[in-house]
Symmetry: C2
Subunit: 195 residues, 2 copies
DNA sequence: GTCTATAATCAGATAGAC
DNA sequence: GTCTATCTGATTATAGAC
């Protein structure tokens, strides 16, 4: 990995973000030093500051980009249709996205408390946008009588929490295929909301 | 809080554990210094080492005690009966316990990666014991035909993840009473497993 | 049992050479 | 664009006074 002096802006920038993501996901933001990130990339710690003003901004930019990417991906995946069809699209999207990008999602959930108050507000707003998408679907289904829910807000939190669980246990090449896992979670979600 | 020299072993020990729990829950193990814990208790950092050999052991002892306390509490709360009755007892216990001791549970989930490998193994074993209790109930219900589950293992993870969600949003004095929250989660859990 | 003082190390971040 | 060297301050943990 070690490398001599030279210009590699195009690869070093993304490499830093990738290394930081991997290390933050594994050990947590506070436990990872700038020197560790640099070593993973193959540069010295000082070189990192050509790409980020400080460690906090490195975390914040990463989380903001990840949340925005997730929101954009959902905007592309969402469909028109009945509340039940919309919910199925969401469950399948969410499970798939969490399996594909578990480090990003893991950091987005675990490192909220390591953001400065101002940065936290920004990320929290994006997170609420994402939650709002689910709450809209559940509200539509509740109003139309398609869903039976004791409490829309709690159901939203419960559904998301249930689905998020997949990222804590899923490992590539495990017992269950991605499609099978999608199907299992969709079966459970359907039962949770059914009228 | 500040206090002069004197002997207060009976109160300082518990005070350290309480302060560490609160601070670890709020900011994370790696982001909390021994000085911060000491300041919260009203002593100097050196005094902490009369009560713990090091910071890692402080975390490990706390997590082990918390997991064991949770397991013991469940042993007292669990009942005989049909799988459905046993599941109801578990859901109500779990939600109640998470609401009552959210800091303990939060630390137990968030700080696993800050344990040394040996300590992690111990805590992980206790966590698996707890999960095993749920998996047993679901297996019984599946075998008897009371529950309809696509995959017992995934259902176990999904149920626990869904219930754990309560600790991320519940706040004392909020919109919903504890009994109401128990009921809502039990309704959702029941729908998730119903045949 | 707690304090003060300190050792030893490591953190984030910057300056200037190449 | 990266490195070496360094600044400044914080960290865990210990030793010895009281």
């Amino acid at each position: 990995m070690a490398r001599k002096t030279g210009s590699h802006a195009e690869i070093t920038g993304p490499a830093i973000r990738a290394a930081a993501l991997r290390l933050f996901a594994r050990s947590g933001y506070a436990a990872v030093s700038m020197r560790e990130i640099a070593a993973e990339v193959g540069v010295r710690a000082g070189a990192l500051y050509l790409y980020t003003p400080d460690k906090q901004t490195l975390l914040y930019d990463m989380m903001r980009d990840n949340m925005q990417r997730a929101l954009e991906a959902w905007q592309l995946a969402k469909i028109d249709g009945t509340p039940m069809q919309q919910l199925e699209a969401f469950v399948r999207f969410h499970v798939n996205y969490h399996v594909d990008r578990s480090d990003e999602i893991f950091v987005a959930y675990m490192e909220l408390r390591n953001l400065t108050p101002e940065n936290f507000e920004q990320i929290e707003a994006l997170r609420r946008d994402y939650e709002g998408e689910v709450e809209c679907i559940l509200t539509d289904g509740y109003m139309s009588g398609d869903f039976k829910l004791a409490d829309i807000r709690v159901s939203t939190m419960a559904l998301i929490a249930m689905l998020n669980g997949v990222m804590t246990w899923y490992r590539e090449g495990g017992r269950l295929s991605r499609v099978r896992i999608q199907q299992i979670y969709w079966d459970m979600a359907k039962q949770m909301v059914q009228a």
